[in-house]
Structure formats: structure tokens, C-alpha cells
Symmetry: C2
Subunit: 224 residues, 2 copies
Amino acid sequence: MLEQRDLQSFEENLPFWKRVTDQERQVLIDGTIRFTHAKGDIVHEDRNKCTGLLLVVTGQLRVYIISETGKEITLYRLFDRDVCILSASCLIRNITFDVHVMAERETTMLRIATDAYQQVGKSNPHVQDFTNQLVSSRFSDVMWVVEQVVFMSLDRRIAMHLLEQAAIAGEDSLSITHEAIARDLGTAREVVTRMLSRFQDDRLVSLSRGGITLVDRDALTALT
Amino acid sequence: MLEQRDLQSFEENLPFWKRVTDQERQVLIDGTIRFTHAKGDIVHEDRNKCTGLLLVVTGQLRVYIISETGKEITLYRLFDRDVCILSASCLIRNITFDVHVMAERETTMLRIATDAYQQVGKSNPHVQDFTNQLVSSRFSDVMWVVEQVVFMSLDRRIAMHLLEQAAIAGEDSLSITHEAIARDLGTAREVVTRMLSRFQDDRLVSLSRGGITLVDRDALTALT
């Protein structure tokens, strides 16, 4: 059962909400559930399951792809008020790839079921518009990843990543593993460890068992 | 001035062509020119110029991105009857990246001007649908590139590339340079040269000044 605050989330974050009929709005509400995933949970795994449209109320989602051998690369992250469209990619013709979505913190979401969203999208062009704009945004996010992977050296990418993670965490002491950085950047753990050791030798970061602390933000920024 | 065969190209390759009004069709026709680019010509360079929608009549286009330092990676190629949408990306909200388009052979195209296409797209949802489906297709193409770059070893990528180029050329003797392969795959020429020398030592290909000949297709295929 949705609460008043959930309807407010819709109103504030779905630009089409004020442009659907009462009947369409009811279809969407009836097709929505609110649920919470613990940190580390897989939220969406396979596009054939077509989880639905996910509106993040609070929390953090990582959207990534994974190879046959288990190698990963992060495509983008979603935060409070963001909407995940690729978890409903079965709705979008010509999207032929699968993504995975994991909760990086405890995350509360509103999930609009695929059939409810599809039903309203068919009758209401504003909903269709919203879908298409989300697809284009994610396409742009992925192009940014392509540019980083192909055009940037790994020291630069790791420096950018550390600064970005510090901005997300709101502090300079990060509880992240070398493995997690490797998964984000689509590289091997050994390569990350080697680069971080070099950063430590250069007094840019300090490494501990529990994580990584940024020591010289200016020098890290200069690398990017 | 368009000819009868151009209208036939539209009818055969634009799925919305039969679902626009006579007036809309006239707007599109008035906004279209047929033109030919020589091999090697840059067809589209900057999304701000918003070249327009390009329908390839005959020829071959390479769509790629280029870094500040001039490094390139090919996103996809377009052949006869394909439509290039990213050359009209100014029409698509939330597409924030630029691509370049080059003619790899002499290429004849029909170009629908951005404003004509936009005008008809606003009034006709089938045109909008077509745009969105093209965007999703290209998004899927780019995800394929991401998977290749991040998950596949370079020997595998080069083997796949040689087989693909042989399929496009229709023969096993390819007039391509190591530099061109490097640009396609987003890597350095030296790296390609080293791998091709290894392929030659293993009797998979034979290298000459003019190009590369596939010698053992089965072994190349086994690599992929």
C-alpha cells in the first residue's frame, strides 16, 4: 500500500505525473510497490525478468555489466530521486543488452510494474517521452564510460574515481576495496593495487586494511 | 531535386513514410537533398552543426569518437539503407556527446534537414518512434563496444575485426593499415603491429606493405 509520501515522490520526480489522467494515475499507483533492499542485494539481474521502473526514494544503486568470466564494469550510479529505466528495458525496442543493478547502501525504492507502466505509456505520449529521455541520458552516461576507458590512462581514472567516491561518501576516508575499484573501472584488482601503491609512495593516498584515505586532494585533482 | 528513386528509398527504408500526411511528406521532401561524399570525407563533425538525418543510399560510413589527443574508437558502421541518427543528435534531448562520421567509401546519402525532420516529428508520433528506436539501437551498438573493450583480450578483438572486415570487403585480402585497425579498436598502432606480427608468426595472416591477408580463417575464428 502506498503512502502519501510515495505519491509525493511520484509527483516530484516523474515529470509526466501531472499530465496523466486520473485513470492512468490509478493504473500506475495500483502497479507500484514500495520496498527496501539491504546493502549488497542484487535488485535487478536479467532483463527478461523485466523488474520494472525503479524510483530511488533513498539509497544508492550501482548499474553494471558482467562478463562470462565475472569481470565487471560500472556504467553509472543512481541516487535519491533517480529513476532506473534499464531495469524495464524489455519495454524498449532495440535495447539488446542486459544490465545488473545492485544496492550499494540500504535502498528504498518505488517499483512501477512493467505492465502498468507499459499500459500508461501506450496511451500517454508524455510517459513515452520520459522513457526516451531517460534512455538518451543513460546512453550519454555510457558514452562517458567509453571515453574514460578508451582515452584515459588508468592513473587518471583511479584519481577521478577516488575523488568521486569521496564526494559521494562526504569524507576522505573511504571504506572501499581494491576489488571494488577494479569492478567499477572494468580492470583487474592487481592493476588497481599496483597503482594505489604508487599513489601511496607519492603521498597522494594512505592505504590501510579497511580502506583508502585521500591525503593530497590537490595532487589527485591535478592528475585528472 | 529528388528523383523517383529517392522517394522509393524513403518509402523502403523509413518505416513511418506511409504513416505521414501528404503535407508532412512534402515538408520532408522539401527538406531533403541527395549528395555524395568521396572516400575519406568527413560527413559530420560536430553535433552543434546538426547535419541532419542521413539515409545511406549506397556506400559505407564510420561513426566514431575522437579524444583531445586525436585517439579514436569506432562505435559502429552504416551501410546501404542504414540511417544515421546521431548526426541529428541536437534533436534528441539528453544526448550530450558528439560523434564524427566519415565516408569509408564513396557514399551517396539522402539528408533530411534537422528542422524539417523536427517539424514532422513534433506532429507525427510515428516519426518520433522511429527516432527513439534508432537511438536504442545505437545505444545497444555502443554497449557491444563497451563489452568488447572491457571484457575481451586484444588478440580476440583483432581476430574478430579482421574477420568482420573480410566479410565487409567480401575477400580475404584487406587493404587496411595497422593505424586504421588501431583507430577502430581504440588502441595504439604499435600494439596492433605487435599482435599482427604474432598472428603472422602463427601463420594466421600474412602481412605486406599494402595490407593484410587472412591465411587461416579457421584458426582466426577459433580465437574469437
